[in-house]
Amino acid sequence: MATLDAFPSITESEFVKACRALEMRSLDRLDGTDWTSIRWSGDELVIKQRRRVNDGDREVCNGNPKEEDGDEENMDPIEEACHDTLVRGRDDFGALTIDFSITLSPTYCVPVLWFSCPPIVDGKVFSLDQVYRILVPLAFQQSLRSVGVMGGISMAHHPVSDHPAFFVHPCNTHEALSALCTDKSLTPERYLILWLGLIGSSVGLHIPSKLFETDGS
């Protein structure tokens, strides 16, 4: 496969190739992984991930008492409904399904990672605080929260579905990719994998290692 024209940017046609390649690679390899599906729609790469919400999350969800002390009165009704929401959003196995979507930013010419949970109770969407508490691994909390107006995760209408969704802001992706990779001769798929490793991990989306196993194993 040809290598990228202008790393750390990716062109539209390279992006399409990359998404198709990752979709192909995943065929028959998702069993036993936390990815339940991956599909290229022509506009976006949709990855559904089923994530276990373990018992500790009940506390996480209700707020870390050390951090939230004194904030109790100011709590938004959405926050108060959080525990309830989480329990109802879980399926029988105590897991949440998270819809991830990867689109191409026409401005930055890099992929953008969007995510949302399916409408849970009364059409209410996850609050940003819930996202940080439930989806963002502890190791990324500090660095992700400390940038921009309200951290590295923003909210907007998804460019394809038009539904409210969260996204990891792409304005630093260029620099991060350049710092991570000095070998600029990447195929589109390697680029997408590198990018997903960089951006996905901040919200707990990891590429299953099974995708890289050779056939017949």
Binding site: D76, P106, V149, M150
Partner: protein, 309 residues
């Protein structure tokens, strides 16, 4: 165009206010027939959700639901049953949903189209999941937009990164008080000097025909790499373009590149008219000049396409 004319135009854009008539949704109102609307002349460049605390207080007695249990920021607006995007300035929303549907060949500011009649809702619609547009979410979305415009203009995110938190905040609040002088100071510091401009942050809003599926996005937004100059015949290498060897990009050349089917001519609006800040813009307007003096507060040239009737 002469500098003082451009400055005057910019001042008019910044001082523009739009009369709004806001009513609470009938289904959420105790006595719809008796309820007064909320009337305000609101800055065209400002954002609707900033009105929510005032509206929540104004309508709290009329709300069927207990106002104390409803967050002001749960509120959202519709026009003609279409939910309005909270991240767009109210003037742009008006151009998209009202002006673009009028025949621009006639007087497009006909009295019946003003005030802009909006409906306020607080109850969630499960079919259309909403996102609470709190002040921090709005500010974040505005700054993201500013960053994008900056990235297109300069090719890096560096100028905006050097902007202090105070300036970033001031840029945001300038939209709320028609504060042109604050905006102009910061905007000028972010604009590359002439000849250094890489691309024009131009977004073109195409309202979709009314017969289309209402569950889909109502407006199509087009964006592409638009350099400030276009190659003259025989010149098409990027180096020639950057070297300023080409001719100045006009609104007409850019629209022809983006949507040739609607703008078959680069000079004459035949099938559609471009609107900016509520007014038709000549096709031969220089895009770089338009950007410097006529962009929205987030640095974008947001042009709405109105089909000619």
């Amino acid at each position: 165009m002469a500098q003082d004319t451009l400055q005057t135009l910019q001042r008019i854009v910044w001082e523009a206010r739009m009369p709004l008539e806001i009513r609470l949704a009938a289904s959420e109102c105790r006595s719809f027939d008796e309820a007064d609307p909320y009337l305000i002349a609101y800055p065209r460049l400002s954002y609707l959700p900033l009105l929510l605390p005032r509206l929540h207080a104004f309508f709290s007695a009329a709300l069927i639901a207990d106002a104390d249990t409803v967050s002001p920021y749960a509120g959202y607006f519709t026009y003609d049953d279409v939910p309005l995007k909270w991240h767009l300035p109210v003037g742009l929303l008006y151009d998209i949903y009202v002006l673009s549907t009028r025949d621009t060949g006639t007087d497009n500011a006909s009295p019946s189209s003003l005030p802009f009649k909006l409906t306020l809702h607080f109850a969630l619609d499960p079919q259309k999941p909403a996102m609470p547009a709190t002040p921090v979410v709005l500010h974040d979305s505005f700054i993201n937009s500013v960053k994008e415009a900056d990235f297109l203009r300069s090719g890096t995110a560096k100028p905006i990164m050097t902007l202090g938190a105070q300036e970033s905040k001031a840029l945001w609040t300038s939209t709320q008080d028609n504060d042109l002088s604050t905006f102009a100071k910061i905007h000028t510091s972010l604009m590359p000097s002439p000849g250094q401009l890489r691309n024009i942050p131009l977004r073109v809003y195409l309202p979709s025909p009314p017969d289309q599926d209402p569950s889909k996005a109502q407006i199509k937004v087009l964006q592409s790499r638009i350099p400030p100059t276009v190659a003259s015949a025989g010149q098409s290498t990027p180096a020639a373009l950057r070297g300023g060897g080409g001719q100045a990009q006009t609104l007409g050349t850019a629209l022809h590149q983006l949507i040739p089917s609607l703008f078959p001519s680069r000079r004459t609006p035949i099938l559609a008219t471009p609107l900016l800040h509520g007014a038709p813009v000549p096709m031969n307007a220089h895009l770089e000049e338009l950007l410097r003096w006529g962009c929205y507060a987030d640095g974008w040239l947001s042009v709405v396409v109105a089909m000619r009737g």
